[in-house]
């Protein structure tokens, strides 16, 4: 199976500090992957590189069947290519309604002149309503998203991510700020999504990772320490030393 995203040998330094050190990573078109690692292991920097926020000093990031070089593209182009990102803190547009947030994220033309004349069709309204229902915000469509609770904002952001219909989802600590019931819902959603697309979950919480029941990549000091099933990596002596052993 050909990889959807292939990251090979990337390195990046900030003021002499090597945040990412010769890291390689690849994920298939319909796969769920958890990325774990202690603070400062380079998890967020890794996501920044894939989404175009940070440029690596060396290495390659190739995308899709045509092996497009993502390093030549900016954030917006990468997002349009089909990579969606969910941030750790919920970042929704608080001044706008839930419906407006979802409508903005909905997959459609992104060029200014096209957006200017774009008006939602009934199908778009229906899609927004369906997405809102999926994330439990069906009754809140007209509310300003700034009024939502922390957990609801998380859900709205997940809804926006789904609206983009990305082929690869990068999810940073999705369970943060969620109640136990919401965590279970999130797990089910992520597992379900990974049936049709690639999902990378960055997570601290081992219980959450266990529930995802997927391949795990352990990062440490900017490179991959171990990869495999959770049981496999937790049995790894090095992993125990740097991460689990504490």
């Amino acid at each position: 199976m050909k990889a959807l995203l292939e990251v090979s040998g990337i390195s990046v330094s900030f003021d002499g500090f090597r945040a990412i050190n010769n890291l390689s990573f690849s994920i298939g078109p319909a796969e769920l992957r958890a990325v774990i690692g202690p603070n400062g292991a380079g998890k967020t920097t890794f996501m920044d590189i894939v989404t175009g926020k940070t440029r690596p000093d060396e290495g390659r990031v190739l995308w899709g069947e045509k092996s497009v070089n993502l390093l030549r593209m900016n954030e917006a182009q990468i997002a349009r290519a089909g990579i969606g990102r969910k941030f750790q803190r919920p970042t929704v547009f608080e001044d706008q309604s839930v419906a407006e947030n979802l409508m903005m994220a909905l997959k459609a033309a992104r060029a200014p002149w096209k957006v200017l004349v774009w008006r939602p069709r009934p199908a778009d309204h229906a899609r927004v309503a369906a997405l809102a229902a999926q994330v439990g915000l069906a009754d809140s469509l007209t509310r300003k998203s700034g009024e939502l609770s922390h957990g609801q904002k998380q859900w709205l952001e997940i809804g926006m991510l789904l609206a983009q219909e990305p082929r690869l989802l990068l999810v940073d600590e999705p369970a943060a700020g969620m109640t136990l019931a919401e965590r279970e819902q999130t797990t089910a959603l992520l597992v379900d999504l990974a049936k049709t697309r690639a999902v990378v979950v960055v997570e601290h919480d081992m219980d959450f990772v266990r529930r995802l029941n997927c391949r795990v990549t352990v990062l440490h000091e900017g490179s991959v320490l171990a990869e495999g099933s959770l049981d496999h990596v937790t049995a790894d002596r090095q992993v125990i030393e740097v991460y689990l052993g504490r």
Binding site: E75, V115, L116, W118, S149, G151, E173, G177, M178
Partner: protein, 408 residues
Amino acid sequence: MKPGFLAKNPSVLAFLALLALFTLAVTLLSTAYGAEIVSTSMVKTLGKTLCLCLIAIAMDLVWGYTGILSLGHFAFFGLGGYMIGMWLMVARTREIVLASAAGVLPMTPQELSDAIATQIFGVVGSSELPAIWHFAGSLPMQLLFVVLVPGLLAFLFGWLAFRSRVTGVYLSILTQAMTLALSLYLFQNDSGLRGNNGLSGLQNIPGLAADQDHLSVWFLWASAVALGLGYLLASFVTSGKFGSVMRGIRDDEARVRFLGYSVESYKLFVFTLTAVIAAIAGALYYPQAGIINPAEMAPIASIYLAVWVAIGGRGRLYGAVMGAAFVSLVSTWFTGGRAPDLTLGIYTVKWVDWWQVLLGLSFVLVTLFAPKGLSGLVDLLAGLRTPWRGGTPLGPDDGSLREEEAVE
């Protein structure tokens, strides 16, 4: 049934109705068409105020909605004025030259053009029309330039600035530098636009025999139509998804990028569009003012513009209009010397000197205590209140409750 454009933008209808009512009232009270209660100079002031309201809408689009604090939009306003002023001067001077030469031998085109050049540029010691005046004799060309020249300048400037991702206060400084550079350049006599003399006599419209009483009312109408159309256009731009993206850019531009929108293109689009609106406002303003000189483009003018929009209320179109109309009219009153002096025992407050202090103070107060500005009064009347959940989000492990909810 989908709600129509007007249903979704209730302010549009109210605004257009008020504008029409205002224009009608002024017309009926004017010297030319009615009761002779409003003087011609007052009609001109009101017409100019409508133009200022139009540029305030442009400023609101670029600052209030998109979050780009441009301190250079009066450069585009002034350029629009210069472009129309060039035609007005040439056409007017041609009439004068032809009139004075009447009865003598008919002039050759060369003689005519030399005579016009001497008339216009004698004041800066030149008798040749500079190259940029090549099309000044043609009204359609100069009208085209009203849109093209400021639009192109804004596009180039914006392209350079936004591409390098200059944002925030650095961008404000850059726009201020642009307007200052332009104004300093135009102050030079050899810049081809008569240096610090500027262009004058613009209140006379060539080819029209009408007197100023009538002209002033016609320009009031034209300004009102332009303002109405500008308001419609701005409502259209801000109402749909484009408006969502604009406000998204203002609040969190990185997030907008990750949604796949090219933030730079959007900023460039809005910056250029608003520059063109500003230029059209300028082209209507200066024939009413009668004179334009480079001082009009000094950075202070653009800072005033920001003050108007802030006092009126950012992020709503009618707020910008309210701010511009209110502050500029009050400013006219205070600086016109008609405000009575305030005697405080040993010191007499002369409003001509103290008005700016008052304006600065009210700007600070509005920013601190009434961020919605004058348009907040509309909310008060409509009984709207901002919902506020309060508190900061709790840490990840404290569940989905926010501070205030958790206290209960």
